[in-house]
């Protein structure tokens, strides 16, 4: 007898369990982990972008008050390198980062020495006592210098080019030859990155007796990082515990394996004490992954009626000084995601990854997707205008039709990587977005001048890839008191996974959510393996693994109950945490738990989900100051299945604000000597709470994903993907009279002003 269950928690706006803890100041971030005797580390970083270390002498620093040790490459011995976690490829190998600079530095911010002292203050003070001389080398300051190759970052390598990805589909050359219309433009997105509110941090402790390492502050990918560290430091992975604490945001940047992820555990073992390092904001800006610096020459080929035949393009990504764990993913995605939600049969997109003497790049929320969407949506807007076709009609005509699902995107070579849109009706979200936005009324404002400000509107469509494989594990435990615990390999970076997994588990087991006593995630030791929080995967992958574990746990409960009732297992009815026998006798799960029941579940999946949607914006531009104001912003997305509308809405709004930061404000600016000029939040401009008050998000669940049992699709990144394109298109719409065509982000006031001036002066 199986009972039909009505879902009570999935889909409900359950308040986040986490919030009570956070709002009362009871979150435990890595810096809050109680530890009476920890030492503190500070890191000496290169202030030179490219050079040879000629003198490095820590004698004086070691004598400074409170200093316990100074660690340089000499103390480490052979310096380990940080392997590539995603899309490893032989040609990338020469460019990986050593955990500490031994004789050569390649960017401002590269670690050279670690001071360990009794307080963080004394550690930092002692940095100044380290004698350091770096003989400067000529600097590879930008992509042109990198491509020219006159100066090599790695003298052993043949060039500064790490790899060129090729996105391929159909026959673009033939399509261009036969096209009625083509247009070519050059676009660029600026270097910027995630500035999570809590900086990175690590505490490590070495247990001499048992030979164990315990590491707090793990995040995002604790299991892979444990494997990397184990290899570098020569400790069995089973003897390393990575502990996930509360995390104040990740956005792709936190939790990758950085030099500090080796240096701090090494320091702990070196001094035989716990050692803690908390990143400061300046360090974050120069040492944590940068992202998004991609420029692209892109061509579109269309039929006269507006049907897109092909994209062809060449992009160059500035990867910074090293290929980091996931550094290639953004540029790789540019090659794959270029066509977005549109049905484009022919694609030829090359993306060159070039090294420069800047902070290395990694993934930032929607890596490559934000960039590619900006390029594509700008070019589509121009093409529709050139062809005299309404820009919405143009988009609608080219959207991948439902009947074409699953729909293959370009294949990425040399990886031979393919992916498909799994399901959906892209026109539905476009139409809903236009309705929510009230396009019919607002579009009448196009180009209108109101008190000196010019108004414009735009709409863009996008897809969001999620649910990266290969697998996630989960464990459900029926505790002796009848409560339930969930352990998952997915990680939390502040996105509310405890609530989400509790909802999924409670529904799967048909128990009141109050029965869920704890949801633990991320830390190694909870489950045998875990893959982490990135690529909008935690909910889908971890949640599906929870479903599997729930089915197994139920089978165990049912078997125990059947033995008590003396009936067949399928004659037992499970409801609300109670097992009911054929004679209607009821036993609470607590009475069945014994010493506890444990079920391990897993979810294997190589097929990705693609949620999708459309964003519309209404902006106004002051042509004389170049200021862009956002008056209305509407996002509509279909995520297959909404687990929690509250947390989803938070993801959407937060991502859009970050996207607006990238579209209008944030820029990591370097000078020709490889010095970062925006080294504090006074110069690196983040959106603030009051900057963009008008954001509306609507989530749909019309088209569940066929590739996982939840039907859910990743939804952590969608909000940011189309923002650059939609804002730039709205600015173009506002200034259409002048023919202003933004091709570069951010749309800072000086840049917008210069576009207006150039257009008015008839220059290009």
């Amino acid at each position: 007898m199986t009972s039909r269950r009505t879902n009570t928690y999935i889909g409900a706006a359950i308040e986040r369990f986490e919030d009570l803890r956070f709002l009362r100041g009871r979150g435990i971030y890595v810096d809050d982990v109680p530890h009476a005797t920890t030492l503190h580390a500070a890191i000496l970083r290169s202030s030179v972008a490219h050079g040879l270390i000629r003198v490095l002498d820590a004698t004086e620093a070691r004598r400074r008050p409170g200093v316990v040790a100074v660690i340089t490459a000499a103390e480490i011995g052979p310096v380990p390198v940080i392997p590539i976690r995603l899309a490893a490829w032989p040609s990338l190998e020469p460019f990986v980062q050593p955990v500490i600079a031994a004789d050569r530095v390649r960017f401002v911010g590269e670690p050279i020495a670690v001071v360990v002292a009794d307080t963080a203050a004394r550690a930092e003070d002692a940095l100044e006592a380290i004698a350091l001389e770096i003989e400067p080398l000529p600097v590879v300051a930008d992509r042109d210098a990198s491509a020219a190759g006159a100066i090599l970052l790695f003298p052993g390598a043949a060039s500064n080019r790490a790899i060129t990805y090729e996105g391929r589909k159909g026959d673009a050359a033939a399509a261009f030859r036969s096209a009625d219309y083509t247009r070519r433009e050059h676009f660029s997105v600026q270097r910027h990155t995630a500035i999570h509110m809590e900086p990175r941090g690590i505490m490590a402790e070495w247990d001499r007796i048992w030979g164990r390492l315990t590491i707090w502050g793990a995040s995002k990918v604790p299991y892979p990082n444990r494997k990397i560290l184990a290899g570098q430091i020569g400790v069995d992975p089973a003897l390393i515990d990575m502990i996930e604490n509360d995390a104040g945001g990740g956005f792709g940047v936190r939790g990758e394996f950085y030099p500090e992820d080796f240096l701090i555990p090494f320091a702990a073992r070196h001094v035989g004490r716990a050692v803690k390092w908390i990143e400061d904001r300046r360090e974050h800006l120069i040492a944590a992954n940068h992202a998004r610096e991609v420029e692209c020459t892109l061509e579109i080929a269309c039929r006269r009626d507006g049907r897109i035949l092909a994209f062809r393009g060449h992009a160059r990504a500035d990867l910074g000084a090293y290929v980091r764990t996931n550094g290639v993913m953004g540029p790789r995605n540019v090659a794959q995601i270029l066509s977005g939600p549109y049905d484009v049969a022919n694609i030829e997109m090359d993306v060159e990854l070039l090294l420069t003497n800047k902070t290395p790049a990694g993934t930032y929320r929607a890596p490559g997707r934000f960039e590619a969407d900006f390029f594509r949506e700008r070019l589509i807007e121009m093409a529709a205008r050139d062809l005299g076709i309404d820009r919405i009609a143009f988009r609608r005509m080219n959207l991948v039709p439902t009947t074409a699902m699953p729909y293959a995107l370009a294949t990425i070579n040399p990886l031979e990587s393919t992916t498909h849109c799994d399901s959906g009706d892209f026109r539905q979200t476009l139409d809903r977005c236009l309705a929510e936005f009230d396009w019919a009324t607002k579009s009448r404002l196009s180009g209108a001048d109101r008190e000196g400000r010019r108004h414009g509107v735009a709409v863009s469509c996008y897809i969001e890839g999620g649910a990266s494989g290969p697998r996630e594990d989960a464990r459900l435990i029926l505790e002796p008191d009848g409560t339930l615990s969930v352990h998952v390999g997915s990680s939390s970076v502040g996105q509310g996974v405890e609530t989400i997994f509790a909802q999924i588990a409670a529904d799967a087991l048909g128990v009141p959510i109050e029965r869920l006593r704890s949801v633990r995630h991320g830390s190694t030791g909870l489950v045998t393996e875990g893959f982490g929080a990135y690529s909008s995967r935690s909910t889908v992958m971890g949640g599906s693994a929870v479903l599997d574990a729930a089915a197994k746990l139920e089978a165990q409960i049912r078997a125990r109950a059947a033995a008590r009732f003396g009936c067949a297992p399928d004659a037992v009815l499970l409801r609300d945490g109670t097992a009911i026998g054929p004679d209607l006798a009821a036993i609470d799960y607590a009475a069945l738990a014994g010493d506890g029941l444990v079920a391990d579940g897993t979810f294997l999946n190589e097929r990705r989900t693609h949620s999708y949607g459309a964003h519309a914006a209404h902006v106004s531009v002051d042509p004389r100051t170049g200021h862009v104001a956002v008056h209305d912003y509407v996002a509509v997305e279909d995520v297959g299945r909404i687990i929690n509308p509250e947390t989803l809405h938070g993801q959407t709004v937060g991502a859009i604000v970050q996207g607006l930061g990238g579209a209008l404000l944030e820029h990591l600016v370097y000078d020709g000597e490889g010095q970062l000029l925006t080294g504090s939040l006074a110069d690196y401009l983040m959106p603030t709470a009051s900057d963009f008050p008008v954001i509306r998000g609507v989530a749909l669940e019309e088209h569940p994903s066929p590739v996982n049992p939840l039907g859910a699709k990743g939804a952590g990144e969608g909000g940011i993907i189309p923002v650059g394109g939609v804002i730039a298109n709205a600015v173009a719409d506002a200034l259409a009279a002048e023919g202003v065509q933004p091709t570069a982000l951010p749309l800072s006031p000086p840049r917008v002003w210069a576009l207006v001036e150039a257009a008015r002066n008839g220059r290009k």
């Binding site: 360090e283 925006t678 959106p687």
Partner: protein
């Protein structure tokens, strides 16, 4: 990102504070609200041996309004100016300009004296002091002196202050009723330092002509300054569209901003002219 070690003193009088500064011969720094100095220290751009906190010195936090104008004690905070209901009448330009300074938390601590001494080229208070012809009262080991605001600022983050001198007050000359004025600035985000700002005011004679025209600029030059060419374009004229256009042209021609991280020179030059037009449009309403 923490300051190098320093000693701390909180004297109870100006004399004591000055004596401490003098004794340390350049190695001591006064601290008021700390909203500029603390980040300088945290970045270790300065590493003074001693910080002399002005917080306990009585009498530095008064706003006095009298026949000789508005006198602001050095420790008057932005918040005090904002809260003082008298100022919208006694010095509306000051009140309007200070409304643009920073954010709530910073306004609760940042002070007039700190802003003048810090001499950020884009700061509002120095700009208002210069355009209004304020006098800055300074006390040092060698006694008291008064410096005209126009001579106080010598460059970006540079003033005539000696290391043993303290600002005690700034006096803005009286503000006649009926004076016409406008203040406009443009910042990337609310509360940021302005990319440029313009303060403009004039009195009108019986025929409605502008008299005693003052135009000051912040953010577009290495220190706050007046724009004599723009003032001359308006002096003795009816402030109409033609006169405003002439003043804007004079602004464009005379402002010589540097190129920097946040804006090229051409942008700031055009911006200053735009803001001038807008300030004058506001003034003549």
């Amino acid at each position: 990102m923490k300051p190098a070690p320093f000693d701390y003193a909180a004297p109870n009088s100006i004399e004591e504070a000055v004596a401490l500064l003098a004794r340390h011969d350049g190695a001591a720094r006064p601290i008021a609200g700390g909203q500029s100095l603390m980040s300088v220290l945290a970045f270790r751009l300065a590493a003074p041996a001693l910080l002399v906190d002005l917080g306990r010195i009585p009498g530095l936090d008064a706003i006095t309004i009298g026949a000789d104008g508005v006198t602001l004690g050095a420790r008057v905070r932005w918040r005090d100016i904002e809260k003082d209901g008298r100022l919208s009448g006694a010095h509306p330009l000051l009140a309007a300009a200070i409304a643009h300074v920073a954010h709530y938390q910073i306004r609760n601590r940042g002070t007039v004296g700190g802003s003048l001494a810090h001499a950020d080229p884009a700061a509002e208070m120095p700009g208002i002091a210069v355009v209004c012809g304020a006098e800055i009262t300074i006390v040092g080991a060698r006694g008291e002196r008064t410096v005209a605001a126009g001579e106080f600022f010598t460059g970006a983050l540079a003033t005539v202050l000696d290391t043993d001198e303290l600002i005690v007050a700034v006096r803005l000359p009286p503000w006649p009723a009926g004076r016409r004025w406008g203040f406009e600035e443009f910042a990337r985000r609310r509360g940021d330092f302005a990319l440029a700002g313009i303060a403009a005011f004039y009195d009108t004679d019986a025929a409605g002509r502008a008299r005693d025209v003052r135009i000051g600029v912040i953010g577009a030059t290495n220190r706050p300054c007046r724009l004599p060419a723009a003032e001359a374009a308006l002096e003795g004229r009816i402030v109409d569209d033609t006169a405003i256009a002439a003043a804007a042209a004079a602004t464009r021609a005379s402002v010589d901003p540097p190129d920097d991280l946040h804006a090229p020179a051409a942008y700031r030059r055009a911006l200053a002219a735009t803001l001038l037009e807008r300030a004058l449009a506001r003034a003549r309403r």
